[in-house]
């Protein structure tokens, strides 16, 4: 019984690995003469939770913006379900984005609308559904994130964690195929964090939504993610299950996963020699 389930899961995993939803091939991107990615390759398996991790400033958010077509790579391809995102026209890009949902760090709820209207927003924009149907969908989605009671509140009246849960309900309103979470755990207390972790897992398990989580919260992600990519120096530094990466030979991966204060990412910002500078100043 138990073995049957595990083989089932592993065969599903291999099938999913072969069939990836998002494929990033040899992507180069630089802004203002500074190179951010130089030959990035990774694939996001369908129906799984993938973690994108890395030290601050490695361009994790930039990678999300590339995947969603907000910016275009200088070289390379980004394939979403076989479609090259960077080659799309505006109209086609918008059609593609209806298949994606993105959760922003601070929720990004529209501040001039109530919680209810925020969740109803994508429905009103994209469909001509009658009001009673919209109401049902919105209440269902709010129920899923546990905030049906807060429907009439304004975003300013919500806590950070509630904000993100409403944003998740809003993102789910149009039933996307992939959910992208940009730093979903930052600045939350343990209770809210636990709620978000539960929701991410639930969305993935119950609805089979492909999930991409960008974070540097190693502890939470080691439980949550199926696959992890650690990005450093414009490339993928390590890939695989997070628990198995702990003893990785790469120094940067080691430093990152174990939270070491000094290593390839130096404690000291590059500077002239300390003693020399002190002596020079005293002269």
């Amino acid at each position: 019984m138990v073995s049957a389930v595990s083989t089932d899961a592993s065969s599903a995993q291999s099938a999913a690995a072969s069939e990836s939803l998002i494929e990033i091939r040899d992507v180069h991107y630089s802004v203002g003469g500074r190179s951010i990615f130089s030959g990035l390759n990774l694939s996001i398996p369908r129906g799984r939770i993938t973690a994108l991790m890395g030290p601050s400033g490695t361009g994790k958010t930039t990678l999300l913006r590339l995947m969603t077509g907000q910016i275009k790579p200088t070289r390379g391809q980004i394939l979403f379900d076989g479609i090259d995102v960077s080659a799309l026209k505006t109209r086609e890009l918008y059609a593609l984005r209806r298949r994606m949902g993105m959760l922003f760090q601070n929720g990004a709820l529209l501040t001039d609308m109530s919680v209810f209207e925020n969740v109803a927003f994508p429905l009103r924009e994209h469909t001509d559904l009658p009001e009673c149907l919209i109401r049902n969908i919105v209440l269902t989605k709010l129920q899923a994130v546990g905030l049906r009671g807060a429907a009439q509140l304004m975003p300013a009246e919500l806590s950070g964690g509630m904000n993100r849960r409403v944003a998740l309900a809003r993102t789910m309103a149009t039933d996307p195929e992939v959910l992208i979470y940009d730093e979903p755990f930052t600045g939350l207390d343990p209770i809210s964090m636990g709620m978000i972790v539960r929701l991410v897992r639930h969305m993935n398990a119950a609805l089979g939504i492909t999930s991409i989580v960008v974070s540097h919260d190693v502890h939470e992600l080691s439980d949550l993610s199926d696959t992890s990519y650690i990005i450093a120096g414009g490339k993928v530094a390590a890939a695989g299950k997070l628990n198995e990466l702990k003893g990785h030979q790469s120094e940067i991966v080691n430093q990152f996963l174990n939270g070491l204060p000094d290593g390839p990412v130096p404690f000291h910002y590059p500077a002239a020699d300390y003693q020399q500078q002190l002596l020079a100043d005293s002269e």
């Binding site: 918008y94 984005r97 209806r98 993105m102 601070n106 990004a108 529209l110 924009e125 994209h126």
Partner: protein, 255 residues
């Protein structure tokens, strides 16, 4: 040498801003027909920019009119023709003070509100979130605000003029005892429909300019608290300068 380089930099910045605004206007104009199909959004913006600016516009109009009454009366008295106060007040308000002061007040009240609202939406990822929901923020957010503002401005201008004339009349007729009949009849004899058309045209042009600057600065604000503050300041400064420059040009053309 340093000054020359700074001047060149500034000229470059200026050209870049002009180009940026022009391209932005192109994108904006293309979205306006779609935005017009959602009148409820525009009504909400007419309310935000127009109805909410009404109190400040009316108060200022009353005082501008009253000052015009005081100064006009004092000056005209020297020529013994204080009956012409109606003419002076009405022409001054209709052709110049009404549209210009309304535009300056509008930039300060509604323009900054627009710029900071959009800037804040940019800073808190709301605009990106809308884009990620496959909705063009230009159509859904910017265009209704722009159209609402462009509708509100001429209306505010005519309200300003009417209240301003009431202010002139209050000081001239009620306070200084200028003959009411000659006040109105002299005004009627000298104000032409063309003059009113000039005032309304100015109101429309200034409304277009002030709202364009406000939404441009807000939409393109640097997504930080400081960036939003800068966008707000720039909105007021650029709107004021642009209003006065356009005012000169329109006056020269319509003279």
């Amino acid at each position: 040498m340093k000054i020359v380089r700074e001047l060149a930099d500034n000229a470059g910045d200026f050209a870049a801003t002009v180009g940026g605004v022009t391209l932005f206007l192109g994108r904006l104009l293309r979205q306006i027909p779609a935005a017009l199909l959602r009148p409820s959004l525009i009504v909400a913006q007419v309310h935000n920019t127009g109805a909410l600016s009404l109190v400040i516009i009316m108060t200022c109009a009353l005082f501008v009119g009253a000052v015009l009454g005081l100064l006009g009366y004092d000056t005209l008295l020297r020529f013994g023709s204080e009956d012409a106060l109606g003419t002076v007040g009405a022409l001054g308000l209709v052709k110049e003070l009404g549209p210009v002061v309304t535009a300056l007040l509008y930039a300060g009240r509604a323009g900054t509100a627009l710029a900071s609202e959009l800037g804040l939406m940019r800073a808190t990822d709301q605009l990106t979130a809308i884009e990620m929901m496959a909705v063009d923020p230009m159509r859904r957010v910017v265009a209704p605000r722009f159209v609402g503002g462009v509708i509100a401005m001429p209306l505010l201008t005519v309200v300003f003029i009417a209240i301003g004339i009431f202010g002139v009349q209050l000081v001239g007729v009620q306070n200084f005892g200028v003959d009411s009949a000659s006040f109105w009849s002299q005004m009627r004899a000298s104000v032409e429909l063309n003059d009113i058309a000039e005032g309304v045209i100015k109101g429309c042009v200034f409304g277009f300019a002030c709202n364009l600057i406000a939404v441009y600065e807000g939409y393109n604000a640097i997504p930080t608290a400081e960036g939003v503050g800068r966008a707000t300041t720039r909105t007021v400064v650029i709107s004021a300068v642009l209003t006065l420059m356009l005012d000169y040009m329109i006056t020269a053309v319509m003279l």
